[in-house]
């Protein structure tokens, strides 16, 4: 008697993708430093997005003067907890508005840079040791041949110094690092069996590059994007600090540090509060980036 018995397969209640994400989140949430990074970054982004609506004196952003309240030290006047600058503008207001410019800088630069850098890196990695790899990687070497700050300074100085040109200059310097990173990851993946299997099955190059190789490169890329939020803000504030980025009276953190520097050491708060703000943003995104890296390393 030939009786077929129907086997009940074990039913997966949740999708494997969701399981994977949950395991990653568990790994991330185990480290208090990563959580601290997430919280600090979230607060920074919140301040950046909503600064114009939550600051006490929105009119202090630009040309504003109230000499009666100039040079008030911090923690002494409840009206101005972080003190005021030489025009009587509130340092707390301007620092919070500075978050906006810094995060805008990071957002614009990274959104311009990541996609082209990653695509070039993927193409170069897939065609490793062919002429197209040579062309892309040698061109990216040219941009890596000097520290990014130096070339960005040079570009900003031949253009008119303002925050838009600073963003363009930093973007031009930044894409090779993504091409580099993606190239290193994807060229190592070139000879993996899953790529060869896709090739044998006749998958298109487009499919192999974007559906097979790219998803496996996302961990390092995501880590670098998070860490780079901090580094782009650092370079942007450095450009403003030397006067080749955002121009006064823009409440940019780098510009404020430089302006306050003129009044050192007596009126130290004018540069110390914006400087701490830069440090906090970089610290937050660094901790978050380290957390994301741990999340993807087995």
């Amino acid at each position: 008697m030939n009786k077929t018995k129907k086997i009940r397969l074990f039913k997966i209640k949740q999708s494997p993708r969701w399981e994977y994400a949950k395991r990653r989140w568990y790994r991330f949430s185990r480290s208090p430093l990563s959580i601290a990074g997430l919280v600090i970054s979230a607060i920074c982004i919140f301040i950046g997005l909503f600064a114009p609506y939550i600051v006490p004196y929105p009119e202090h952003a630009g040309y504003f003067s109230n000499y009666a309240d100039a040079f008030i030290p911090p923690f002494q006047n409840s009206k101005y907890p972080f003190g005021t600058d030489e025009y009587g503008r509130d340092i707390l207001t301007r620092t919070m508005l500075g978050f906006q410019y810094s995060l805008m800088m990071a957002g614009v630069v990274l959104s311009l840079v990541v996609a082209p850098g990653v695509i070039l890196g993927l193409i170069a990695g897939y065609y490793k040791d062919r002429w197209i790899d040579m062309v892309i990687m040698r061109i990216s070497d040219i941009f890596i041949a000097v520290p990014p700050l130096v070339l960005a300074l040079a570009i900003c100085s031949v253009l008119e110094p303002n925050i838009f040109n600073a963003m363009m200059a930093v973007s031009l310097m930044w894409w090779p690092w993504y091409a580099r990173l993606t190239y290193n990851v994807s060229s190592a993946m070139r000879n993996e069996y899953f790529v060869q299997a896709a090739e044998v099955m006749g998958a298109s190059t487009f499919h192999i590059i974007f559906k097979e190789i790219l998803p496996n490169c996302l961990g390092p890329i995501l880590t670098k994007v998070t860490l780079d939020v901090g580094w782009v803000i650092l370079i942007g504030s450095a450009l403003s600090f030397v006067g080749l980025g955002a121009q006064p009276p823009t409440p940019d953190l780098g510009t404020m540090v430089a302006d306050g520097g003129k009044w050192m050491p007596d009126f130290w708060w004018m540069s110390m509060f914006p400087a701490s703000a830069i440090a906090i943003i970089i610290l937050g995104f660094n901790l978050l980036g380290d957390g994301i890296r741990d999340m993807f390393t087995e």
Partner: protein, 337 residues
């Protein structure tokens, strides 16, 4: 080993030539007509045309680049609109002070990161490790120009332990090499040497602290990772003294990734020196270059990028050689090819 170095040199040369094309293009095409920027707006057009012809600016761009490159190889970087002198002599005047600062910072970075990294690695997961971890997060997240301001505020203004800026307080020694520290030693002026170090300490420390903390973390991570390797267990089980295991067997492979990053950091210091020199009024190349940038002095801007590119390439090649020396795998791989 020789082919390895030759290939590195070839890549570096290629990048530098590419960089020179990029910078040349940036400086000649974007800002507008260089002749009109040089002269008074009331100059008659005839003289402008003569000047244009004299400077070779009426030729096509690739010809201009070719002649410019020839001048560079002859050591002529053009004329500076800002200082009204030859850019080459400006570079020779200002570069030594910056190099001294960067070299001092590099020494501090290497020594400091080794001490902190080994301390944290040897006492992994105990309090020295946690302390180094906290310090390193703070060190990395504060940019060098903010460190410069903090150090200036605390150690120079408040505590008056160090000078607030400048190169020397005593009369400078006779100029021989251009390097103040070497010149003062040649002239036998130890007071000038000590004074120089005293002035350079704060800027150098501000310059190196971020990289120092990062490298300490990398050395620590390498030591923790290699501690569980079998060759370390074998060396320990054979009864070798702990100190020998630590420094010979554990430290050598652990510092290889740190050396690579250190090389990159030290090369990047040339960029950060731009900011730190501004804060400490250090009469170096970077400060000079920033002043030239404010005045759109194109020849100096191009020269700055190229000089820094060349130093960057040299530092990177030296780093590669040190790594190849430390890591026998790279040497053997090169021989195998």
């Amino acid at each position: 080993m020789r082919t390895y170095i030759a290939r590195r040199l070839g890549f570096a040369l290629f990048s530098l030539i590419g960089l020179s094309i990029l910078v040349f293009y940036l400086a000649r095409v974007i800002p507008g007509d260089p002749v009109l920027m040089m002269v008074d707006p009331r100059t008659p057009p005839q003289i402008i045309e003569e000047l244009r012809h004299k400077l070779g600016l009426d030729r096509p761009l690739y010809m201009q680049y070719w002649f410019w490159l020839g001048d560079v190889f002859r050591g002529d970087l053009g004329f500076s609109v800002y200082t009204k002198r030859s850019v080459t002599s400006d570079v020779l005047d200002y570069l030594p002070a910056s190099l001294e600062l960067v070299i001092l910072a590099a020494l501090m970075e290497v020594v400091g990161s080794f001490i902190l990294g080994v301390l944290a690695g040897a006492h992994a997961y105990k309090w020295p490790d946690n302390l180094v971890r906290i310090i390193s997060y703070i060190g990395i997240s504060i940019p060098s120009f903010v460190w410069a301001i903090i150090f200036q505020l605390i150690f120079a203004w408040q505590l008056a332990l160090f000078p607030t800026g400048g190169l020397l307080d005593v009369p400078s020694p006779p100029r021989v090499t251009g390097f103040t520290s070497l010149d003062s030693l040649i002239a036998g002026r130890f007071d000038a040497f000590v004074d120089f170090i005293w002035h350079a300490t704060l800027p150098a420390f501000a310059l190196c602290i971020g990289g120092m903390m990062q490298d300490a973390r990398i050395i620590r991570a390498g030591m923790v990772e290699n501690k569980d390797k079998e060759y370390v267990a074998m060396a320990t089980s054979q009864g070798l003294p702990e100190r020998l295991v630590m420094f010979k067997y554990l430290l050598k492979p652990s510092i290889i990734p740190a050396v690579t990053v250190m090389g990159m950091d030290i090369a990047a210091m040339l960029g950060n020196a731009f900011l730190v020199e501004m804060v400490f009024v250090w009469p170096g190349f970077s400060r000079h270059a920033i002043n030239a940038m404010y005045r759109s002095d194109l020849n100096t801007i191009v020269a700055t990028v190229m000089v820094i590119g060349i130093i960057f390439a040299i530092v990177n090649i030296i780093t590669d050689i040190i790594v190849a020396y430390l890591d026998p795998r790279i040497r053997l791989m090169e021989r195998g090819e």
